[in-house]
Subunit: 336 residues, 2 copies
């Protein structure tokens, strides 16, 4: 007999909640304009793993399992509805960033990157993203907690600042690991951190538990981003489901390359720069592997996952806590 | 002796308040990242007429002049601070839309429109705009009124939907006047309406006064946009201070052209389409003048201003109410 709580029992609950989240998401985006509705349907193509809503729901469940206070059934329902709204909000913010990531630069166009943008031009992608951002803030305000609006908008600012930091280091061969970590903390970590930390707060957790869950999410998010960056180099497009090598073409250098450049000899460095300039991913990969920098990057991701999981010791053991652990493990085991 | 209240006496008050607004605006955008601060300084180039903050402050003053309740000095100060925050928020949202307007499409690039984008590439413009949007929502949440977050995010969604509606009619020669009015109501009217209506609500106005001021702002905004669209065709770049004829190059057809196409003969229509395709503004203007469609557009703008001003009759006469009237008149008298 296993002593571990059975996370499988939670899956139907999670599935039902994610269904409710998807409904909240769709309802918020209904417009009186057919042109807007048509465009919003494009967004469905972006819907993927629902990682962020899952973090919200699972964090809420883990905090409730931990709680010494038993909420009344009415209070529980109010909390669930707030969590569902938060889950829809974070997914909408995530989608907005994906849509805006599709916006192309002159430079990208010159490099024939136009296929990245499956939407109807840059301007439309910008407006659709803006519509998603505003709608997410509108949905957020429906929860009626002023602090939630404040926290989420601050988080979104940080997310943008991470992207700006990355853009400011575009094509920068001197980018160091600590700046890289700060970039991914902001652009991916803080949103995942908000999912867990704010879900905990909405569920009535103590400040210490909220902070532990926020850090859990942030570190999980950073592991997720490192894995994303590794997959952008080594993944198979068919499996990953998106065009790869984009970071490189956009001059966004990620951990494997950053690590490699600090490790390689001057000769290999020259070859590496040549491969970057030619966007020659196979050659670049061979060079990066020669300094074991892919392995080193994966080890960093493993380290973040392990640190994240250790944050959960503040919670009593429960199926939901186990589920959070499994989600953390999955972020670096995935191939897509 | 003039019976009209002297609006000149209000100008020092307005100037001081706009100074406070500018300070709130700048404080909110300070980041711990130099890359972000450097980029935010670009935004200063966009600062222009401060029309929207002026509408907020003037509306607040007009409602206060109207009020039968005398607030305590403490309450007045709280209201003033909320209004200053709102004024900074609406200016930030406006700036975000200006920055995003600079994002270029493939088509624009091919047409050599790259000079429009004075920033460092499309991606950076998108992220800066997103940073401004999130910061505006963060500043908004500092007021601590949940309804304000809700109203402003809904307003921003409408603003985006107006842009999407316009984009969906790109290059559409069958665009009719009523759709054009709906586009400008959303993309310019609702923001100006929010400035006045929400300022009134923050100042404690009755629902009827709030709605009258919202409509005043919306109609003033529509007049402003018509004037903008006329200036994009007939203005002098040196005076207007921006590249003109952009709407046409982007396939955004505005009231003068929309009116002209419903009025002209089939022969003139063919010549008009040719001028559009060649982006030949002088020829197009000559054709549009032949059907007096510029005059007709100006008359529409005058009509909106007059309708807007009539909304103010709900307020007792005061210097601030007079100032709102003057602002309305100025929107269509300006040449820049």
């Amino acid at each position: 007999m296993s002593l571990l709580p059975d996370t499988d029992l939670l899956l139907p609950t999670l599935a039902a909640r994610l269904g409710a989240v998807a409904k909240r998401f769709e309802q918020e985006l209904v417009s009186d304009l057919p042109a807007v509705n048509k465009l919003v349907r494009h967004v469905e193509h972006y819907r993927g793993k629902m990682l962020r809503p899952t973090l919200v729901i699972a964090s809420g469940l883990a905090v409730r399992a931990n709680s010494i206070v038993n909420h009344t059934s009415h209070a529980s329902q109010v909390i669930d509805e707030s969590l569902d709204a938060l889950a829809a909000v974070v997914e909408m913010i995530h989608m907005a960033t994906l849509v805006h990531d599709d916006v192309l630069d002159e430079a990208d166009l010159r490099r024939g990157g136009a296929t990245v943008n499956s939407l109807r031009g840059n301007e439309t992608a910008v407006m659709l993203g803006d519509f998603l951002f505003s709608s997410s803030f509108h949905l957020c305000s429906s929860v009626g907690e002023s602090w939630l609006n404040s926290e989420l908008s601050l988080m979104t600012s940080q997310l943008c600042s991470g992207e700006i930091l990355q853009l400011s280091h575009r094509g920068d061969l001197t980018l160091d690991a600590s700046t890289y970590f700060e970039i991914i903390r902001r652009k991916t970590g803080v949103l995942a951190g908000a999912c867990c930390g704010l879900a905990a707060r909405l569920t009535g957790a103590t400040p210490a538990v909220c902070e532990a869950l926020r850090l859990f999410g942030e570190e999980l998010g950073m592991a997720f981003q490192i894995q994303d960056d590794v997959l952008d180099l080594i993944g198979e497009e068919r499996v990953v489901g998106k065009t790869l090598g984009i970071d490189l073409r956009k001059g966004k250098f990620t951990l494997p390359l950053v690590t490699h450049l600090t490790r390689c000899s001057p000769d290999v460095r020259a070859l590496t720069i040549q491969a970057i300039e030619q966007c020659d991913v196979p050659t670049l990969l061979r060079l990066i592997e020669s300094t074991e920098s892919l392995t080193a990057s994966r080890e960093h991701a493993v380290g973040f996952v392990s640190k994240a999981k250790s944050r959960l010791s503040i919670l009593t053991e429960s199926s939901a806590r186990q589920m959070l652990c499994s989600i953390a493990d999955a972020t670096i085991e995935r191939e897509f």
